[in-house]
Amino acid sequence: MQKFNYSIKEPEGLHARPAGLLVKCAQSCSSNVKVEVKGQTADAKRLFAVMGLGAAQNDQLTFTVEGSKESTECAKLKAFCEENL
């Protein structure tokens, strides 16, 4: 299991577009990907769940990646966050 934290820089937070792109990135991973914010956890592969978090700017997201390719996929998700969120 791999974990990393990321603080949202986008002023609008995790709204439909970035959330959609994040879910697409998570869906491309074979690992189980969970994202947690303010004590609430969501399956990062489900847009409905991710948008339900209502994550705003400066909120800290904690990603948990679990699977046989977790190291590379964790790095991929981290790179995605740096670029898009």
């Binding site: 609008e12 709204h15 792109l21 409905f48 948008m51």
Partner: protein
């Protein structure tokens, strides 16, 4: 009416009055490229946005520009009012609902000031997207003139 088919076709109604177009015509690749899921879009003639199904309001963002509704049969439907309207930070949107509340088809979700959206240089088109496409076998979108809460926008077959 008299004959009941085994595979029931269900409806998502138009959330706003206007002209329905294909999702691929929305000038935002997150919608047109079906990144979020499949559906349809309505070019609005009126700013009153209603629930397209009977169900529950799942999320209401502070910016009141996008609503998530879960239908009674478990479809997750995103109704996004305009493109890049998140930038308005709620200006021009009057919210009518709260997360978790039950709603009927035609109940008002939000009233949007279409003139203000256009004045800000934004496109008020309303994409309606099923984001859990794994729950349906197939969908079909209707084009043409729509009346909010009355005209069928999308028909789908539940898995």
């Amino acid at each position: 009416m008299i004959f009941h088919k085994k595979e029931k076709s269900c409806a998502i109604y138009a959330p706003v009055s206007g002209k329905a177009v294909e999702l691929s015509q929305v000038p935002d690749e997150v919608f047109s490229g079906k990144v979020l899921g499949d559906g349809a879009a309505v070019i609005p003639e009126d700013g009153t946005i209603v629930s397209p199904v009977d169900g529950t309001v799942a999320t209401v963002p502070d910016t009141h520009h996008a609503y998530y509704v879960r239908s009674k049969d478990g479809l997750e439907i995103l109704i996004h009012v305009g493109i890049d309207t998140v930038d308005l930070k709620g200006e021009g949107f009057q919210n009518f609902v709260k997360a978790g509340q039950n709603i009927k088809t035609g109940d008002i979700l939000v009233k949007a000031d279409l003139n203000l959206i256009r004045e800000k240089g934004l496109n008020p088109i309303v994409p309606v997207v099923i984001t859990n496409m794994d729950a349906v076998n197939r969908i079909s979108a209707t084009k043409g003139i729509m009346e909010a809460g009355k005209t069928t926008l999308i028909t789908y077959e539940r898995k």
